[in-house]
């Protein structure tokens, strides 16, 4: 059911900060880094103006941001942070600890290329370097999704069968600094949706003292990792329920993936993030010319919704995978995952891998069209690495 809300022209960073304001977490610890900075700035202003009563910790580094948030979440607080690129890389050690300690932290990540050379613009190398850290990963297409999924993430992270942290990835500058109309939900609706946090084994419960972070050797570590693997698998069962509740509350539908003009599509492009908007434009353009093309937008990359993707892609003539990051010496991450998902298909579609947009290089509709044309012309060669928008 379509619901009507107040629309405001906001940058993605503003939309995320607004979601955080409505979530009103107990603790936010953050350190500024381009292009995440406006999220921290807006939120700090909300705190300074008393629009939230969150306790904010202005830490001296991202490593301490994640460390403090781990401490706060273990203590029983709803805790959030946000970062980008090198900041995420600096936190890496504690990113892994946060997930392995099963702390339901939500972290918007404003995607930016990792150094070196230093670059402040969008690609997915930062988040992809964390794809095996045990965090749930969303990638959003636009400002509305950045707002929505930040709210949804809180509920998913804290679900008793999940208890895992969530990264909400939004493309640096393109989303974080680009202005779009965003439908904002009333405060009480958001408050009701996220509910009161129900901490498990909070550190501050001195009546029931717990030891967080023990030394766990070869006699138990393996079993604990197995539990973590199962928790990630649970996300596939729980996320549809949370998404359903989100739709009931706010009227917006989310899934593991979005299917755009896929019903009769022979050629399907697969991508993450803001580029999906451009791809939709190209799909419409090619459809006007009579080509049966479509888009599979991946909202959730971890856990990877393999079964759903498999069922969507089986029987297509060609699948074009766009990656905004490289995996040096191996296939790029999204392509690798899609290829692996197609292993069990009886008839495998032709498959092509395209890397684009590294370091914020703009991707043009013509370039996306060219990749579709490769597929339409029977010119997809599996594992041949192609690049869009690259000077040779």
């Amino acid at each position: 059911m379509e619901k009507v809300y107040e629309k405001k022209a906001l940058t993605g960073a503003e939309a995320v900060a607004y979601a955080m304001k409505q979530i009103n977490p107990d603790v936010v610890a953050a350190y500024p880094i381009t292009p995440q900075t406006p999220i921290v700035e807006y939120f700090a202003k909300f705190v300074a103006d008393g629009e939230v009563d969150t306790e904010m910790i202005p830490v001296e580094s991202e490593h301490s941001a994640m460390s403090a948030v781990v401490g706060a979440a273990a203590a029983g607080a709803r805790a959030m942070t946000a970062t980008s690129a090198n900041g995420l890389a600096l936190m890496h050690e504690i990113v892994y600890i946060a997930a392995s300690t099963r702390l339901p932290i939500v972290m918007p990540v404003v995607n930016r290329a990792l150094s070196a050379p230093i670059n402040i613009h969008c690609d997915h190398s930062d988040a992809m370097a964390e794809r095996d850290s045990g965090w749930i990963q969303f990638y959003v297409e636009n400002n509305q999704e950045a707002y929505d999924l930040t709210i949804l993430a809180v509920k998913l992270a804290e679900h008793e069968d999940v208890r895992l942290p969530v990264m909400v990835n939004l493309d640096g500058f393109i989303i974080s600094h680009g202005v779009e109309p965003v439908e904002l939900y009333p405060d009480d609706l958001v408050k009701g949706f996220v509910g009161e946090p129900k901490p498990l084994y909070p550190l501050l419960d001195t009546e029931h003292p717990v030891t967080y972070g023990p030394l766990d050797l070869y006699d138990y570590y393996f079993e604990h990792k197995r539990q973590q693997i199962e928790a990630m698998d649970n996300v596939k069962k729980i996320f549809p329920k949370v998404a359903e509740e989100f739709e009931r509350t706010f009227g917006k539908k989310y899934d593991f993936v979005e299917q755009y003009k896929l019903d009769d599509a022979d050629y399907v492009m697969v991508a993450l993030g803001s580029t999906n908007s451009t791809i939709k434009y190209v799909v419409d353009w090619l459809r006007e010319e009579g080509f049966k093309v479509g888009l599979l937008k991946v909202w959730m990359f971890r856990p990877f919704p393999k079964e759903q993707i498999q069922s969507i892609l089986v029987g297509r003539k060609g699948v074009i995978v766009l990656d905004r990051s490289a995996s040096f010496g191996a296939e790029p991450p999204l392509y690798e995952a899609i290829k692996s998902a197609l292993y069990e298909a009886a008839v495998r579609p032709a498959l092509g891998s395209y890397i684009y947009g590294l370091g914020g290089r703009d991707i043009k509709a013509e370039e996306i069209r060219k990749a579709f044309e490769d597929a339409i012309n029977g010119n997809l060669i599996v594992d041949e690495q192609r690049f869009l928008g690259l000077r040779e």
């Binding site: 107990d26 306790e55 910790i57 001296e60 401490g71 203590a75």
Partner: protein
Amino acid sequence: MPVNLMQLAKEFDKKDPGITQGHRLCPGCGAPIIAKFVLMVAKHLGYEPVVGLATGCLEVSTTIYPYTAWSIPYIHNAFENVAATISGVETAYKALKKRGRIPDKKYAFIAFAGDGGTYDIGIQSLSGAIERGHKFVYVLYDNEGYMNTGNQRSGSTPPGAYTTTAPVGKLLPGKAQLKKNIVEIVAGHENVYAATLSLSEPMDFFNKVEKALKFDGPAFLAVLSPCVRFWRISDDKAVEISKLAVETKYWPLYEYERGVYRVTRKPRSFKPIEEFLKAQGRFRALLARPDAKDIVDELQKYVDARWERLLVLEEATKDKPIR
């Protein structure tokens, strides 16, 4: 009157101080005594301690899953971030208290870390947490090296001490540099209580723990923590060596409170630094070198100068807090 050892011994005869038996630290190790002393004082004063541990001897030896030697809330996150972690716990307490989601208790947030986690890899996290003014007590158990991983050199290792990464060799006399002065580094944050403590001076120790707990802001306690294994001393010597450290000016006992220095123990006479060095096997190779006298003289000059400087600081800062 601050609490004394007899009172604490009586009080905790049948009461659990928070760290209990069953841990696997070496017999004679200074670290668990330090932890116990701190926690006994905290509990005696009616605090509910919540502790954070940096990776290190005290951490690995007390929490080997599925066992724990801690009967109080405990969190270990990583090596270099115990200050940031406990700052998150303390902030969560403030938030949850404000929102009425926890009963209002008299919590004490206490971080324990070795010298590696304090002088070296954890110094940024420590500095940030102190600068932000969190209400917590940071307890450094300083065993002057990476002892948990088998005696490697740290920023706290004294010159000439044998470590596996700065060994005394045919050419080099072991570590060439002096220890960092960690208390001065902490004191540089100004809005802080910082003190040195010794196991050989329990009254001074308890008094400083009490001050740290009651201080309205971050507090830092540096405790010399003899390592029986790598200081090459027998397992009944931790307190004796600590005493020698104070008597030789190696570990002067003093405190700093928002700019004001106070020397809390002034021995009538001092022993030469050589006695502190001779009592420990870690300096044996150094003392066997032909140039040993020069190195020892150098160290003697340093501890003398530092002691004089402390007395001057005490005089100059008396009743003159800077914050």
